[in-house]
Structure formats: structure tokens, C-alpha cells
Symmetry: C2
Subunit: 446 residues, 2 copies
Amino acid sequence: MRLSRYFLPVLKETPAEAQIASHRLMLRAGMIRQASAGIYSWLPLGFKVLRRLEDIVHEEQIRAGHIPMLMPTLQSADLWRESGRYDDYGQEMLRITDRHNRDMLYGPTNEELITDIFRSTVNSYKELPKTLYHIQWKFRDEIRPRFGVMRGREFYMKDGYSFDIDEASAIHAYNRHMVSYLRTYERMGLQAIPMKADTGPIGGDYSHEFLVLADTGESEVFYDRSVTDLSLGDRSVDFDNVAECQAIVDEFTAPYARTDETHDEALFEAEVPADRRKSARGIEVGQIFYFGTKYSEALGAEVVMPDGSRKPVEMGSHGIGVSRLVGALIEANHDENGIIWPEGVTPFRVGIVNLRQGDTDTDAACDKLYADLTAAGLDPLYDDREERAGAKFATMDLIGLPWRITVGPRGLKEGKVELTSRRTGESELLTPADALARCADIYAGL
Amino acid sequence: MRLSRYFLPVLKETPAEAQIASHRLMLRAGMIRQASAGIYSWLPLGFKVLRRLEDIVHEEQIRAGHIPMLMPTLQSADLWRESGRYDDYGQEMLRITDRHNRDMLYGPTNEELITDIFRSTVNSYKELPKTLYHIQWKFRDEIRPRFGVMRGREFYMKDGYSFDIDEASAIHAYNRHMVSYLRTYERMGLQAIPMKADTGPIGGDYSHEFLVLADTGESEVFYDRSVTDLSLGDRSVDFDNVAECQAIVDEFTAPYARTDETHDEALFEAEVPADRRKSARGIEVGQIFYFGTKYSEALGAEVVMPDGSRKPVEMGSHGIGVSRLVGALIEANHDENGIIWPEGVTPFRVGIVNLRQGDTDTDAACDKLYADLTAAGLDPLYDDREERAGAKFATMDLIGLPWRITVGPRGLKEGKVELTSRRTGESELLTPADALARCADIYAGL
């Protein structure tokens, strides 16, 4: 993309209403714009990141054997009355009346609707297990929305629902989700620690939240610092293998890690040596639940067993806050000059800065680099504006592309361009072909 | 995908409430399920088609130089009061009051919101032209929703907005959209004829609708049958080339083609020889508008010109009904046994039917074919259920995959499988390797 043709309305001023880094930087970098309180338009750069995260979530869910579908944003109130949650949700649920005076609502979650689909289409134990999920806009009418997309009212979430015949199978579904979520966050360049959690209004017996450590996190977290050494890395996982998934879950949940809601100081001191005990702030980016038959009993979601009896199915639900993750990624990856995208989620892979726009040789070198990077799938953003070098560097630093190639007449005299890492600030002089090869290496497999 | 692991709740009975083929077949093929009046859940097979159409729309919009972003579903009523459309929309607009008693609405379209973004971020003529678009859920509170996704209340639409400095540039944007829409529909295997249209509540002077011929269409259309001979085919189009885009628009709009709203019988008879005059029914699948300064004046979207004066920008808007297209595709492509997907949009590219599930050799041949087709990117759906052949064929015919490979013990004795076209019903006996090669050829470039 040539910047002269793009729509990237960066702001010079820091917006007064933004209290945290991700909100400030998303506004300044032209990623979002508030449409009304807690509701945002995703401008092209922000949408590109959101879509990238959505793609990663889809790929990892499909890899784990889960099936994508899509439920609507608006739901009938009737199902929520049937489950008994219509009143529980209070004023956070956006209630709507249509032209025929029917009670509707903007879905904050989808347990009722998916259970209704299940009960009307699945009859036999033979059709289990199944995990269905979707990524859809949700609404929660927060009394005081703030922190940009971190606590908005209209937000984008992946929510999945598992249906199993018995507890053992349901626990495997739970484990499969934990492993697929760990993979998802790692691909995004995030370390998200699974922490034992309360179940809240979803209900159930067994739940983990995934928390990203960041000073602006809403939760206080307590953990054994050995947990931050864990990673899945390149392990290939067979998601059908019950023992393999269980072993990974055991590995990642063995070290103490809890939020303030479930923290037990005595247990913490008993289990974790003093020098490994850490407390910090964390941002919640996902949560998984196993809640047994709570909804299947309330809504009559049963299957016929081999002996002809009917049994309510065992259910779990599993959520990733996709729009919130954009904010969490920035909270965990920025400096005073702007965002620093991990390679796995960057909106453009390489930035090109032309130091002398209008100079025939420099323009030609940039055009060739742009064409070559594009052909190599390295999706460059070429700053071809008539601007001073300082303004171009400031924009690149603000929007946070991990790699920048600077092209100027002085370097070109030696046949060289400069490749700079946004994270370390280190630069190298390379031929354009070598710079391209280095970028191709960096992004190989991403 | 193995069917035993998928979620494909096909119906044997024809649902009584469905009056037209696409609604009936989408329910029967397990593509959608009604959540409430005019609001549907997209089950996995339906979602896969919807997502495929969305991807094609994105690819063709980006190819034409248009920039993707995403506006929210809910909007503040204030902007609509400013443009004067809050009252025009009447009861079809779903009006919502939030917990702070602020008036909101579920967006039926986005002229106001995009113009607000534009006026607060773009200042200079140098930043034009720009075309921004998004694909987002919309809501229109139809008094009597019907025909499934063809006239639902919650629907998925691509809407784009162009901003230009003068009429000539705005007409090029209009033409660029017409050409990119023609490409989009052709890739989906649809012939959509551009017809001169009324502008309706969007306003403006200049508009075309795109209509797919189908007996169940809501509009009566009148056209010179020479228009149905036109196609873009493999032409590569330079979307920056004003003359080239204009020539294509001239070519496709020269033959008479109008809906009942703009039809002029005298003109029709004067322009078109009797043997080429046709009337038929058509389904609207898109519309483009050039409306000049209607919204930019109402909302103060101006740019500073070279001489320092301020000028309201010239605007257009352009829509493709993405969820409605799924229905239109089926209306134009089905027979008494089910859907017949064009190759460009099929949810799975090849179906595999195992005639003797449980037989070691047949299962092994199917497993190998499944692995090989998957590796070749031919995304197979393997019916591995313990079902009679007749039931498997009926399911494949109903869901409409364009190509089916049937594997049975008799054929395997000769080293052959059967490749069958859903559209023609013709079959060929081939080795598995040849069948795969044929499918790879068919889908090359799609």
C-alpha cells in the first residue's frame, strides 16, 4: 500500500479522553475513532489488525477440530427467559423492542441460542462430541465505558460451545480449548497465563482466565514466576489425543497462578518459594468454562443414549476477546514513540521510507523495493508522501511496523538501504536484495 | 472435513414456512436456522459460503483500490438528525434507547457515519480521491420479513463510500465500482445485469442496480437480450485508467436494461428490435449511487482547495447484499434435488462418497483420496457416515457440491473411482489420481 492512497488519519495531539496507552495510541495511529460512547469505528489500520487476529483465531480453532458458524447479533428475549438469565443480566443487557413490540436484545453471549440450535437438531449420542463457535459483535451496556476497545460497549468476541456425552469427554474439550488458546496467543506474540477463575454469571464448576501481564491491567494477579518460562513453541499437538492435551494443561496449570478473585495467600506461600512469588497487573483476554448441564437442563438439550434413555449433554463455553486483544497487544508492546507490533499480527510487514521523494533515483529504488516486497508477500506500506524524513520516521514509529527500510540518495550511492528494527532501534546497511531476503526470513512461517 | 465430525443438520421434510427455493433449500441443507422473525443463525455450511462471498468482495474491492475498514452496528441518532434522515426512515429503522436514555439505532446504512469520519479527519483536496468501504451487519425492521435471507431483518452488506473533488473524478469512482461489481458477480458464477435505477431514500442523480435473472425475483425487468451476451471474462482491468473503466461501463450500459421502476416502454420499443426485447423477473444484488454533495453539504464535509476556498466533496455510495447473494445464488442455481453451487463459491470443492463404509479397502482408498485432495487445496467433504448409498447421494445432491467422487468396491477392483458433475449428472470412471488431477484443473485459478 502506498501511504498517499491509504487512509491513515494520525493525530499529532494526545487525545485528552484517553487514559491508557493503548487507547491513546490507537486514536493517535488512526486505528479507531469513537462513534459514540464505548462504540468505535475501526479505521483501515485498526481493521487490518482486527482481521488478522480474527484469522488467527479461526485457524487455531479449526486446527483443534472446532467448527465455525455465525449467530446473529440480535436475539429474542424468550430464550433468555427460558434459561432464567433475562433478569440476571440487569442493565448491562441492551434491551430492544421491535416494531411489533417484541422483546429483543443485543446478545452479550450465546449459550441460550446455541443450546436452542443444538436441542432442535441433534438427537443421538452418536453425533457427539461437537464444538461450535463463532466470532461476532456483542454488546454490553457498560455504565461507564472507557479505555477504548479494552472496555467498550460494542465488542468483537469469539465464543465457542462444546457438547459432550460425559464429564471425561467434556474435560477433554476443556483441555483442547486451553491448548488451542495458548497456541493462539503465542502466534500473536503474547504470553497469556491461564489462571484459575471464578465462573461469574456463566455459571459452572471449572474455569480458567487467560491474562496478559501489563501495568494497566484491571486485575491483580499472583503467580509463580516459573509459569512465565513455559511456552508451546513449535510443538505439534494432536488435538484428538486426550493424554497429550491433558499433559499440556497439567504443565501450564501446575505453577500457582491466580487473579485476586481466587487468590489464596496461605496456599501461595505454602506452594511457591518466596523468590518465585510474583504479583503484578493483568489484562484478561479469554476465559474457558466447563459448566456441565446448567443450560442443557434448563433448555432441554438432551441426546438419546445407547440404552434408549435421554441424557442432558455436558457443556462448556470458551471466549476470546478479539477486539480487546488489539488493546492488550498494544499495552504489552509499545514505547514512548508508539506501538511495536509483534510480527505475527502487524498490519503491514515492512515499512518503506523514501528520504527524498521526487528524486528520480530514490523514487525508482523505492518503487522496485515496493514491487519486490509485494511480490514476496511481505505486504509493505510505502510512505511516498512529500514530507520531511523526521515526519515519516515519527509516523512509522507511531504505527509500529516491526521492520522499516529507509531509502536515501546517500545509501543508494553505495547500493545500500537501511533495515531498522522498531523494537531494538538497531539498523543495518544492506543491499535491497539482502534487506528483502532478511525480511522474508523473519516472516517465514508466520 | 469428515461429515461424521461436521455439523450438517439436513432436514428431510420441506419446511412449511418457506415459499421460495432458496429459503427451502437453505433450511433443508442445514445452512441456516431461524433465530427469530427475519433473523438467522448461519450454520457451518451456510457460514462457509457467506465467508467465501465476503472474501471475494474484499479481494475485488481491494483490487479496485478501495480501502477496507469497519464501522459499528449501532449508531447514535444525533448524526441522523443532522442529515435529516432520522424521521425519513420511519419504522424500518430499529430505534434503541440505552441505559442512559440516549437515542441509538441499528444502522441500516452508513452515509452519515462515514461522512462524520471524513469531515473530522480530511482537510485538503490533496487527500482525495478516497473510497472507503466495510462489510457489516445491518438491520431493517421489515414489517413482514420473508424469503429467508433474501428479505431478512438482520443482513450482511458491503457498503462503500467514495469522496472526490469534482464530478469527473466522482464519475470515475462510479465507473470503477460498476466494473469491480461486474467482476465480483462473475467470479461468483452469477450474471448480474446493471440496470438504470431510481435513487430512493439514498438520494442523488445517478444510480444503477445489479439484477440476477430468476423467476422468483421481486422486480420485473425489461432488457435487450444482447446484454446477457456480455462478460468481462479474463480481461485485466487497470482501475486507475479512466477511459478504460468508462469504456466498460459504456459497453455494459448501452443495451436497454431497466426495472419496472424506471422502465419506459416507448423508449424500449424505439431502441430495441422486437426479437431482442425481453421481460423477466430479477433479484437485486447490488446498487451504486452518485449523489453529489447531498451528505457533504448537510454534514459539512469540505476540503480546502488549492486557492484556499472550501468545497463540499462529491460523494457516492455502493452496496452489495452479501447475505442476500447466498439466496440469489441458489435461486439461480438449483434443481429439484437441491443446490448446484458454481465452483467459485462452493462451500467444499469436492465431495467423497464411500459406498461401503467399514470395508477395509474402500475406507483406505477414501482416506487416501481425502488426504490427497486436502493436500492439493481441494477442500473435500468426505461422507464417512454409516449410511446407505442412496442417503449419501441425496445429501450430496441437496448441499450441491459441484463435483462428487464415488468410491466403491466394484470400481476399486478396476482401480477406478467415479467423478460426477452435479450440474450435468454426467459421470466418468477414472483412477483416483486422474480424478484428482481433473478437479485440480477445474479449480485452477479459482
